[in-house]
Symmetry: C2
Subunit: 370 residues, 2 copies
């Protein structure tokens, strides 16, 4: 195997497949990336058995062949090479030579025989999105997946397509995040659970440009993301997702309209008073024209007021400040509407068209203390 | 005590004194900073018993007084306040209220009685330097102090003034760094050992501007840095510094002139092949017109050539690559001269005027393997 390509191109492509290389694995071959050179293409491949990535490197093929090479070592060498053409050559024993200007590295590779290549799946009916939209919708929901592996379904996100609407849902038992977007075309119904880890890694690779597209393909067991000469293939999580609609409600007793940035900064400041080991709620008191936020901890106390527009009853309710912060951070609107029922019922942050719904459960607090 | 000052000014000043707040201390009062308000000045003070810092905050004094307040909590609250005027007020029980726009924090403070205020020392004959020069000379030497507390003298740097020359020296048993600068005036002879930690913290506070000055004062036990309304006072390390001149030599068998950036990048790449637990030398082979650099490890091998100008004999010598990298990184010259004697004698990187001298001991290597 022998190829020549530019350092920058190679480095970019290596960084893409690195996302599917496990830090440690009981199968050493998974810590390798494959350089797979056919007469007309140079492909890099990595696979951690849940997530697999293939990407094409632009370059010149001098001799075909394949080699498996430690991904971490290879990527660090490439990163530190001078910014020029790189020649990579493998001999019969998989000893791999990397040449760039006067630098010459030799590292031992392996046969790619044992490597689990990505399964060939039949791709039908691409769902087309802009990279920007996919990256955004992941960012706006992925924070509320659970990292507790004992409940596998909560570690993933629901991707549900109905007609020309894509709905993405995540939940962790304390909160639910829902985002909806309109697709350019109508599609057949799809309802799958995509691993959160896959979405996090994919969103790191996506360019995030409006004008770049990504094609999604779905099979019984897999989701495929195709973009920029790259294919990401991930297993789906098996099982039935939660019945979200039963948890939602459009009734409310209190509706608050508030400046998002002011609210977010205020809650952010309140968290300064919480030590990592403590769980302290932020107490939200809604009066006619303002919202009063209070925090009391062993460090000290905070008290702040923000102007609001209110409909309905006064209410005092407590929240885990982190849940409010994470939802508010991914809402781009200048003003948000918050809907409340009573101090024990979930609160909803949602826009009029329900393009987003963030449900957050309140926490108990001793109102006598406040 | 009651004061008003701008958030930005307060934040900048808090960040300065934070450098003298220990992360953990058996004396809880040392984890506090003191706000000391006299009729005409607002002073912040912190002291970890080795290093003490006082700085003046521009602001309005409404009521004099002092309070000791947890430095970490206070700095985090200040950092997250809106960018506006901040009012700080302490009541008779040292409960401290921080007000900014609609935000109101209350945290409990302490009496400053137990706090070890900075000792009053008599300041004589300031040695005047630009902040740029002091910051640079610290950066160019401090990497080769030792962090082994069992040999206290090696954890500090020699500051030696003779006439109008300041010489700064650090060493760790494997290498010596020496920098000399010319002062604008003549001073009395001074020879002290300044703790490395002090220099690291001071260099973080220095603006690094050519036009800003810093005054140095020396006493038997202390060094004082005075600049920008800030006083940093540090204990000196007691004892006699090593006799450096006996270790230096201007004899050589081989002199190499080489492009610094090329050499640095090459050694940097070679270190990719070293695992953290491994100690592998880089082998430097000096031929007539080029320097060959080789590294062999369990990961792989590297071989690279760099053009040089040479005087004297050919030589093969091994070095800890880290020592070469750290010295080369702080040399600003495009080309450097390296002087060698034999594979067991120290090598010297120095300029013609000896404004800098970096001595590095070679390491043994099995030349048969190379």
């Amino acid at each position: 195997m022998k190829i020549v390509c530019s350092k920058t191109e190679l480095q970019n492509r290596v960084n893409i497949v690195l996302k599917a290389v496990p830090a440690k694995s009981t199968m050493p071959i998974l810590e390798c990336l494959i350089i797979d050179v056919k007469s007309d293409t140079i492909k890099l491949i990595a696979n951690d058995m849940e997530l697999g990535i293939e990407t094409i490197v632009k370059g010149e093929v001098i001799e075909t062949g394949t080699v498996a090479i430690n991904a971490k070592v290879f990527s660090e060498i490439i990163r530190k090479l001078p910014d020029n053409d790189v020649t990579i050559e493998t001999d019969g024993n998989y000893l791999t030579t990397i040449l760039c200007e006067k630098a010459k590295f030799a590292i031992s590779g392996k046969s790619s025989e044992e490597f689990p290549y990505l399964p060939k799946v039949e791709k039908q009916n691409a769902v087309v999105l802009s990279q920007f939209t996919l990256k955004e919708i992941i960012r706006q929901t992925v924070f509320s997946i659970s990292d507790n592996e004992s409940n596998k379904i909560m570690t993933g996100e629901l991707f549900e397509i109905t007609g020309n609407e894509l709905k993405v849902v995540s939940l962790d038992g304390h909160r639910i995040s829902i985002r909806k977007i309109e697709l350019k075309e109508e599609y057949e119904d799809i309802k799958v659970i995509v691993p959160g880890k896959t979405l996090i890694e994919v969103s790191k690779i996506l360019s995030g440009e409006f004008t770049d597209e990504v094609n999604l393909y779905f099979t019984d067991k897999h989701i495929i993301f195709e973009f920029d000469n790259t294919v990401v293939l991930s297993r789906l999580i098996e099982g039935e997702y939660y019945k979200i609609n039963q948890m939602l409600s459009s009734d409310y007793e209190t509706k608050v309209t508030i400046n998002k940035k002011e609210l977010l900064s205020c809650i952010d400041r309140a968290t300064l008073l919480i030590k990592e080991t403590e769980k302290k709620p932020i107490i939200v008191k809604i009066n006619d024209k303002n919202m009063e936020l209070k925090m009391n901890s062993t460090i000290g106390s905070m008290d702040e007021e923000i102007d609001i527009t209110k409909e309905g009853k006064d209410i005092v309710i407590g929240f885990n400040p982190k849940f409010l912060i994470e939802a508010l951070r991914v809402i781009d609107d200048e003003e948000v509407d918050i809907y409340l029922i009573n101090p024990k019922a979930p609160c909803f942050i949602r826009d009029k068209e329900e393009r987003y719904i963030y449900l957050i459960l309140p926490v108990n607090f001793n109102s006598a203390v406040q």
